[in-house]
Symmetry: C2
Subunit: 439 residues, 2 copies
């Protein structure tokens, strides 16, 4: 008598991203409720389990869902609004004014639905968001059926989201309390950056993080301007500055880290800080190229983030992974660095670990939550096939993602985000853009 | 009474890539036989012409077909065969031995069909190929309905393609003669590189090019190894070396040019040499990053090439364009360089000009051959839309290409390469890969 499960996912290649480097060929994954029950050879799995639904098969690769460790999801509504500008002008001249005018629960809900649609299509199952009105984000993300870590942004100046630092903290703490037991939403705290938050503000964020056992999500050492500014204000470069106040530990996920010194890379390694490498945003805004190879050599956990779509201009981790795996070979002068498998680890398992969810998601193994992606290999750009890791990293595109499962539920089915009203999302985005364009 | 045309292509945005920067909104293109009859507002076009077939409409962008100015199409069969290696090891340890063993008419025909399938899917209408057995390539390309410039490779050492330099030239000249009047195939001559061809061989190639009025396609200054080797052999860096023998003029399309000195950039500009910037290949093989911003500033015509799929690992000009438009902002430290529109010019019109076909294709205007692409804008990653150039360059993916027209004929229709047997292509690729894997 076979055991009933909800879904059996079959793959010609299953990349579990566990310590086993060899892919499981002609494999299958049995999923019941939200969890992976067993992973193994297809014949063994189908002999043991009866799946209510059977997906994939020959011509499919099954991989853990991609993890986007730094984004501002709702900023999709500013995609392409202002390009080919330096970060500071782009932010202060265009993005912040538009945010001041339009940000609110309705904007964030509508925009986050679009962002979820885009990310699900790109095989992202988990993302780390820093923004405001995160209640509205949470509502949209839960509707889409995605998993996310949401950090309410903290600033030392007033915005439409809050008037004082304390008000930001009150909202953040309230959010953390209300979402502490959620199945899909994991709360976090997000002090914006060393140039917008005082050391006292960071300290308060760290205390809150410790009290509620959540991660701290911040921008760090993104531009040369920031390095100069922080040095001028505090006498230390950004990483040393935070470290000198005891503000770096393994709870911290630092986005960008484009300009750490050698000494600062050592500090990041010692403190167990995780990095979200936002390559395409850093390139497009001319912020620079993070020393990823050096950070990896010193065992700093580097993961991939898209940043907001306003600076990138998409939410596509496969594209970040592919560009990074190629670029750092040229930058380091060594074509053997950042192998295809390491790049895929950064985009999946290490991302989950950086968000404090390494025991729950990030790899395909029995007992973990079922967040996984089926990639259709029957595409000319994936033909022929000698090495599946190489294909996923160097040749596959997000459009090859056919099915996405989050928490044991199918959320993307052949291009359709099954929980979302796609026509309504397009309609709302267009309506909002007409207003934003007129700003 | 309306005038009959074969196809009317409608677009919410038509990017003609002529001197008019503003896109034609709610526009249409009338096509008869192989040519564009008229471009204008949709209402004017549909009042004047009756189209046998009407494509596109609201939610579509219409752009000239992408031009891939440097590839070795048949190398798709080696895609992902050997990764994460330096160029020299990769070439001499893996690619050349595999080529020696398998290259021939059947291999090149079968592999080129796959390459055409991949390129048509990615919106490429014209490519510049350097390889051997170009008769077989031509046959496959004509079947697919694409346009290509084919240069028979010339080397100063024997391979499976020819035994002596003279034999290479005989084959090349024979090919040029036979294809001089072809509708889709434009012959060229392709001396491989300064480290594999003597100045005498280049001279002979230039004479042949002049005799038959064809372009000269070569690799140039790709790696630091090449710069050292050529300096050792000839006492000059690669560009100066060729120039010192009078071998550079506006017929020459030089692929890579990663390591030109300032002086050499001036030489390239003075001689009117066009460059094929193969960014992803240069990154992945750790060859370096070409000084594209400087070349553009000095009015060198820079275009995009994918290189072969064995080193990239795909044939996707949209991806090259997007990566380059972002990367050179970071490398130059100036986020205003390589604007979206300039990047799109490099990928279309300038590519056609570099191949000597600027009067025939590369832009959408009356009288030109109808090589164009419809991009479906109804995608989450292209929503909302403020600036069409930004979207095409920074956000669109090759999977957004829905329809491709070459020489007035539809060659891609919603993902189907209409002239190709796609199942047969997958089957053959798999069969060949089983042999190649065993090498």
């Amino acid at each position: 008598m076979k055991e009933n499960v909800d879904i059996i996912v079959k793959g010609e290649y299953i990349l579990t991203m566990t310590d086993a480097e060899e892919p499981v060929t002609n494999g299958a994954v049995a999923i019941k409720d939200s969890r992976i029950v067993e992973v193994g050879r297809e014949d063994a799995i189908v002999n043991k389990y009866e799946g209510q639904r059977v997906l994939g098969g020959k011509g499919y690769a099954v991989i853990p869902g991609f993890v986007n460790t730094h984004t501002h999801a709702a900023m999709v509504y500013f995609r392409g609004l202002a390009d080919d500008l330096p970060l500071k002008d782009w932010l202060e001249g265009h993005i912040w004014p538009a945010e001041q005018k339009y940000l609110g629960n309705e904007f964030v809900y509508d925009a986050t639905e679009l962002a979820c649609f885009e990310m699900i299509r790109a095989g992202i199952t988990l993302f780390n968001d820093m923004y405001f009105f995160e209640d509205a984000s949470a509502k949209a993300i839960k509707k889409a059926g995605m998993r996310a870590v949401l950090g309410t942004g903290i600033l030392d100046f007033p915005t439409v989201a809050a008037s004082t630092t304390s008000e930001y903290f009150e909202k953040a703490e309230d959010f953390i309390k209300r979402y502490s037991e959620d199945e899909l939403i994991v709360p976090a705290i997000a002090p914006h950056a060393p140039y917008t938050c005082s050391p006292e503000t960071y300290k308060r964020a760290m205390e809150l993080a410790e009290k509620y056992n959540v991660t701290v999500h911040t921008h760090l050492s993104e531009t040369q301007w920031e390095v100069e500014e922080i040095t001028k204000r505090y006498g230390n470069t950004p990483v040393k500055h935070l470290d000198s106040h005891g503000l770096l530990d393994s709870r911290v996920l630092a986005a960008h880290c484009v300009w750490p010194t050698e000494e600062e890379i050592d500090i990041l390694a010692q403190r167990g800080v995780s990095i979200s490498h936002c390559l395409e945003s850093n390139l497009k805004l001319s912020s620079g190229i993070a020393p990823v190879t050096k950070m990896l050599q010193k065992a700093v956990r580097v993961t991939f983030g898209t940043d907001g779509a306003a600076s990138n201009n998409d939410l596509d981790i496969m594209s970040e992974m592919s560009t990074a795996a190629k670029l750092h070979k040229a930058v380091s002068g060594d074509p053997t660095v950042l192998s295809a498998r390491e790049a895929l680890l950064m985009a999946t398992k290490w991302g989950a670990q950086a968000l404090g969810l390494g025991d729950k998601v990030g790899s395909i193994e029995a007992g973990k939550l079922a967040d996984l992606v089926l990639i259709n290999l029957k595409n000319p750009h994936l033909t022929p096939l000698y090495d599946i890791y190489s294909h996923i990293v160097y040749s596959a595109k997000s459009s090859d993602v056919e099915t996405v499962i989050v928490n044991g539920k199918v959320v993307l089915n052949g291009g359709d985000a099954v929980n979302l009203d796609m026509e309504e999302i397009f309609y709302k985005a267009n309506q909002w853009s007409l207003k934003i364009r007129k700003r």
